[in-house]
Amino acid sequence: MSAAHSHDNPAADLREQYEKFISKKIFCLFAFILAIILLAGYAATRGSADIRVADVYATILARFFPGYFQTNWFSDTIVWGLRLHRILLAIVGGIGLAIAGAVMQGILKNPLASPFTLGISSAAGFGAALAIVMGAGFVGGQWLIVGNAFIFTVLASFAVYGLAKYKGITPETMILAGIAIMYLFSAMTSFLQYVGHAEQVQEVVFWMMGSLGRSSWDKVWIVTVVIVVCFPYLLLKSWDINALGAGDETAKSLGVNVERTRVVCMMLVSFITAAVICFTGTIGFIGLVSPHITRMIIGGDHRFLLPISGLAGGLLLLAADTVARTLLAPVILPVGIMTAFLGVPFFVYLFMHRKKEFW
């Protein structure tokens, strides 16, 4: 459209401006996807066995297009057998935690909300501690710790729902119920640590710091499936989450079923978080900070905030894990520590240079 034409028609001009504004967000989405692909390629080269970036991509693509890409047994074993599942768990885990954080901040209208606001991390920690210290749990064998962490996480969200329901599902009641549940599970975990042996306590602490060292293809698939099942509903509800940001009454007046939206979103978010942290331990920072970083870049429209926050979370967790396993190699640092070391400076930079009111 020519400038002269658009000037004659202010409404068309406005629409054009808005479409440009949306195009920038879509560009940002693709930029994050590209950044993840590049970082994943780099991350797969890092480790005790040397392998080039080009070989990494060729090895990955050779599985899908065997006629077009060549690889060798060594690269295939390193990439597919050892490194790729860890990289993908970092990506999908980060995506899950960040989406969960963005939804929680939206439905609770609280910048400090994260998946863990509802006491989820302490419930998962307690589940894991119960398995490690007492050997007790809902499922046995190699899934004892994972199963406990998952089930207690889900139980915690039902408890928060039950408590909040009693006084009406509002952000305030949900946060207060979440705090109560968090302290309850923290106290129980402390008790288990108090009665446990030194090795058990060490294992509990290590689990709670978060690590991707226990990754496997099964775990990648489970987390991916949970996200793929839950995310479309959350994305579909992005208009309603936007409306909740303007207040419950406004949301109702715009036709939103406020209570149901809040409860269903909370349950799905808990489910995603449970699926991630039962395998990785409690990696708290991603869910809190990725939505903020994204909001500062693209604004608060959840139609774009949810997917782009997810990608930002995936990128951040992958970066943190890559640094965690290479910084003091062969010592691998807990990724939960590294996410904060990497994320905080970036977050502070954006916060200090922000031009818009983002909250």
Binding site: P10, A11, A12, D13, L14, R15, Q17, Y18, E19, F21, Q105, G106, K109, L235, L236, S238, W239, D240, N242, A243, G245, A246, G247, E249, T250, K252, S253, L254, G255, V256, N257, R295, G299, G300, D301, R303, K356, E357, F358, W359
Partner: protein, 261 residues
């Protein structure tokens, strides 16, 4: 033609009765203002009409019972402008107004929706602010954006809760003139809770005076705003003069013990 018919409406917060057996009629293309002291039930009535609150009694919107309508259907026909909107999370003015299209869309925004938003912004002279952050606007600008959001719903009736509170004199006039011209041009009706009796007198077709949750009196501003009614309802001695053929109220003093609620 009757736009909204409210019959035997009662609403209580727990055991505290806020609205008691109210009957109100809103006609086509009229501005009806709810006036009365704090706690008289103005805002509660607005919220009951929009079914943000669920009262007892009947509210018919163009002959259809609001209580039996889906929330989305109500949102397509009633546009609500809250007293103050908590700042949405980092949204532009365009996005804020686009939210008004939510009752009409599933997820995807059509070109027609974008055109509707652009037209509404233009109608309210907000096009220069379209890409600004809502949180950075002045109080008067925010109020107009919230009216634009309600208009984007394409409502039959606008419900406004204290649209001029927290605004200076110029912005009060600006907002009221906007509402008045919308009612005239688009043929929609407006129901508003308002404290300023002079603004209500100047811009309303009908006033409903509430006292302790019941309708004390209803009628044209010229008939309703008498010194006696003001004294009875507000507990204030006032001088009622005339200006531009409308009543103009000058409050003189509070009457001890007579203050109503």
């Amino acid at each position: 033609m009757v736009k909204i018919s409210i019959k035997d409406l009662t609403f209580s917060y727990q055991s505290n009765k806020i609205l008691d057996d109210l009957n109100v009629i809103v006609d086509d293309a009229e501005i009806l203002s709810l006036v009365g002291p704090n706690g008289s039930g103005k805002t509660t009535l607005i919220k009951c009409i929009d079914r943000i609150l669920k009262p007892k009694g009947s509210i018919l919107l163009e002959g259809q019972d609001v209580q039996s309508m889906k929330q989305q259907e109500i949102a397509r026909r009633l546009g609500y402008v809250p007293q103050s909107s908590s700042t949405p999370l980092a949204t532009t003015v365009f996005d804020t107004v686009l939210m008004g299209r939510r009752p009409h869309i599933s997820w995807r925004v059509s070109d027609a929706d974008l055109d509707k938003v652009a037209d509404t912004l233009e109608l309210l002279n907000l096009q220069e602010l379209a890409m600004r952050d809502f949180g950075q606007l002045s109080g008067g600008q925010k109020q107009k954006v919230l009216i634009a959001r309600a208009l984007a719903q394409e409502p039959a009736v606008l419900l406004l809760d204290e649209p001029t509170s927290n605004l200076d004199m110029k912005h009060q006039l600006d907002v009221m003139e906007t509402i008045s011209s919308l009612v005239k041009e688009k043929g929609i009706s407006a129901v508003m809770a308002i404290h300023d009796l002079n603004l209500a007198a100047r811009f309303s077709d009908t006033l409903v005076m509430l006292k302790k949750g019941v309708v004390y009196a209803a009628g044209a501003p010229n008939d309703l705003l008498s010194e006696k009614n003001i004294s009875e309802v507000y507990g204030v001695e006032a001088l009622v003069m005339r200006s531009l053929d409308k009543p103009c109220i000058v409050p003189l003093r509070s009457l001890n013990g007579a203050a109503a609620g």
